[in-house]
Subunit: 236 residues, 6 copies
């Protein structure tokens, strides 16, 4: 069992809305020492690749060079966007598309930018949870401006990480735990308890079906708590 908090205990989570002024939604999400600026920008066009124009939500993710323990090289010039970055931004996009009715959104594209300014584990799940708040603010602005008549958001969505370390299930891993975990899971769920994404990977030893179910249950409880915090943040 870990020292500072229980195995199934979340770190402090905080959503600061209107963190920057230009984007339609702009949230600083903090989850322990992990800090991500998540913004939602609206472009009044469907993506070019769409045959039948409709709404779309897409995401981009990046680590600031100074966000990690040892400086990370910018993914630009000769340094291509890594597979890890691409996996994460595809995950954020899919997760947020699951909570919104794209037809009701109309012919526009919302881009979620998740820029990690300080990383300590769980940056992708924090980006999803914060992304829902930013997306909600962008939708609210469209409704306030009369560009949207009906709210396209179906239900809240949030995400959390879990893992197995020394045969124990741990929730919301810090970097120091994550880097030595045997199993790594990311869980994305809606307020009604439906699963959007469930990804478990054995970095070291394969694991049992029983452990998989425990990971899921541990994450589920935490996600309901995070959705509560999202609601409070959006109510302010």
């Amino acid at each position: 069992m870990r020292a500072n908090r229980k195995n199934d205990e979340l770190r402090n989570i905080k959503f600061t809305r209107h963190f920057t002024k230009h984007a339609s939604g702009s949230v600083l999400v903090e989850c322990g020492d992990t800090k991500v600026i998540v913004t939602a920008t609206v472009d009044e066009k469907s993506p070019k690749w769409m045959d039948t124009p409709s709404g779309w939500v897409t995401a981009e993710y990046s680590l600031l060079p100074s966000s990690t323990n040892t400086r990370v090289r910018r993914e630009r010039g000769n340094n291509p966007v890594s597979g890890r970055t691409q996996e994460i931004q595809r995950l954020i996009g899919r997760s947020l598309r699951a909570c919104i009715d794209l037809e009701k959104l109309g012919e526009r594209t919302i881009t979620i930018d998740a820029d990690v300014i300080q990383a300590d584990g769980g940056t992708r799940t924090a980006s999803i949870s914060g992304g829902f708040v930013a997306l909600s603010d962008a939708v609210k602005k469209l409704m306030d401006e009369g560009l949207l008549k009906e709210n396209p958001i179906i239900e809240p969505v949030a995400a959390i990480s879990a893992g197995i370390l020394d045969n124990q299930i741990l929730l919301d891993l810090e970097y120091s735990e994550d880097s030595i975990a045997d199993v790594d899971a990311n869980i994305v769920m809606t307020a009604s308890g439906k699963i959007v994404e469930f990804q478990t990977t054995a970095e070291g030893n394969p694991f049992s079906e029983q452990q998989l179910i425990e990971l899921l249950h541990t994450g589920k409880k935490a996600i309901f708590d995070i959705i509560e915090m999202q609601k409070q943040a959006l109510a302010d």
Copy 2:
């Protein structure tokens, strides 16, 4: 229920070893109309990024332009390697590293190349199942040549896809099913029934915990069948 086979029935699977002559392991894996050339090439060096030299298994994946329904553009020149390709090759690499003791493998790198010559769904899971056979052949060759004293392979590994379509669980989806499925799962397991990777994604509607467990069970049964076929292929 689908027309040609039961919902939990596998397509015909076939492993043709020694398909090409240069690589240490070379397998044509066929899964219905999906055909992938999977090879294992040995380089007698650790990867450069490793601090403590040890063995490593990595993977690359590619679709031949003519492998799909409408020609796919080569990922070269101005067309970068897509996020999908990168996700798949990371998945293949992780899955095969889970079945081998990297320290016992010694200071060498085995590269698994999965080149899809005909695609009809399930290319990534076919690549993993075929990859295990190619990897086994490469290891066998190292042992025959006396470069390896002890077999580093821990236990067989195989993979299969499953999904939910019209609220029914389907195994081993063809492209026509996969492209309209609500939920998409990829399951990687070892011969002893341990989970290496389990990824489920709601492309459309989120799903329940009950469905997640059914997906897992359906996949598990199939994986045991595939591992049996791998054994027979390797015994020939």
Copy 3:
């Protein structure tokens, strides 16, 4: 004189049509141990750069990483398409355009993809000879579908390599011969004996006009044999 076959003797050549199912033409061409999947895909559009829309035939060429003796790096990401690859695909395209009336082909583009799955010398000439078969199948399909009224193919085209090694003219070089040859030639000809391309290069010592003519004559005889095999394959 070489051990296994005469200096002016071809290796076994085989064309397997309908090798994969998606492309309009799909041929596995084998020339000794060299094996290339050559496909023809039809796009119902002229290329963008054309001022006066008309038909076009273009080609792409690639070596699978495991096709060669020592694994070749994929030409993607930071590894650009090599000069060798570009030379080969330009040669294949020019050679096949010489056997077809582009105006009669109409406003469509046929892309020939030559993907080498096993390399043992002569991959570019095998791609041209196989490319003619794939192109013929694609044209046949267009005619069967009523999209083309008149056959645009002018006459068959095929290609072969020749070289000079230890002052002897050799036909259809294997990799072990090609890599130490003094002179390297590629000859592309039509069924009526007209020259489409003739390229000779002194890798080592320059050569005489007499030798150049011998290279041409040796190749010509072989090309007529290959054109015969193409006809038989297309008749099946």
Copy 4:
């Protein structure tokens, strides 16, 4: 004359040290609505291109996509690092190298990362002024750790923008002013009043020598005020 402040009046400037936890120096610099995270990371190596190893200070600059009025595309993948970005990071690097004795710094490289989270004009000069604070913190840490015996910093450096709009000299332009200015100047000076960089550009109409000198004098006074604020921030 502008409405909210005098033509030669600075916007509110604020330096928040220790803004993130991983870098040796980490400062949030705010200048009106312009907000930049500037960090200093130490690498205990000279740059590879140096013939005679010595200390080095280099800089990278980036706009977060959501930092501007309309979302800016990330400079990655097919979108290369722009000329503007390169000019700015070269300017920041040169300016900060002017305030430090590189030989005394020893064989190490300090990278200044300036990531703009909100842009409203003057991001490059804010990055320089904030960069000096981050650099000072990094140097202080090296001295506290005993890695440096002698302080290599020569004297403080700061920067400000000025411009000409409707024939009036304006200090510290906001984006709305900057985008329509006739002349644009950036001034970098040391605490002793020496000039490090002085760049004036006529975006519209060329200007007189008299105006050039006025731009310089207006900037000089402001820079002394900023250097005072840097000192207070570093004293806290």
Copy 5:
């Protein structure tokens, strides 16, 4: 004081018009041992990024690999266009746009190509001075062809470099001087003595306001001389 010429003395400057035959304006500009081919090519279209179509002048700059002391790598393939090159081409473009009325130029783009065939300091300022001559020839051709009714050129523009070395102001630095100068300045002015660009950089020691003004005055005198030579060249 330097040996071969006075500190404020220009090197020999020569403009050879009609140096190559295809471009509308083509000038070889020589400034001592610095030799640059500067051409002006007219494209009868506005740039795509322009919202309100109008005329535009843009510039590209390149060093031939053999133009410098030790061969420079071409900026192509994996070697991106350097920050230095981008700064220079932006400077040339801005400087030449300052001497022409873009609305009068009409909906066309003039591209100035400055290709340095031999470099010995001052290549960017030689490119600007030569660029004015090439631009004038291109405009003259447009007028001769009746495509332009009114001359859009406002007044001549020219440029020169200056620097501080061993506390002395030097004009028109050669490479051997430039590479060890403490301060480096580039001055762009019009025939009426207006400043278009003034950039001073302390490569080594910061400098005083008095020195800045001396740099400006030294450059101004030289620019008037160069403008005289441009006039003579254009009169031939």
Copy 6:
């Protein structure tokens, strides 16, 4: 028959040595209106890819943007080095390696840069003929400096283009002829009449063996004339 010169007549050819001052060999070669700066730069290292260090000669080729009828885009940034450019620089390199004993050259690399400042057909063959002169000057300098004891040059090499237009054999085609020719040939030969490269391509109609031999003979005579001019140029 063409108007200005006989079908088998060369255009005016001129070699200007010492055209620029930095490279070991620097030649302006003019062939009618085609003008190429060809330089030879010596690097006292073998290429990295060589297993057994020895001498090497390599080539790079580029068109200045203003060298052609309509401006060509620079091959940099998002515009990759074209297949045409790569073919040409490989041809120049192979041709010049054929005239030099690489072992005698010793562990050094000579880079031939061919930069076309004005193009009117035959730029690749002019680059080879001029390249031999530049290479000879670089070798002479190495011998003068005592870095080479024995002259590694075996015999002179030169190149010329020929073609078939309206069924007539033409020598040394201008751009206006080349762009409509049916057949295009490039011939590289040594002073002793040995063939280094012979490439013929039917751009339009395939051609006969008789025509191939005529192309060769026409080129041979011209090459002997060019080699005479090279000798005179090198004797000056």
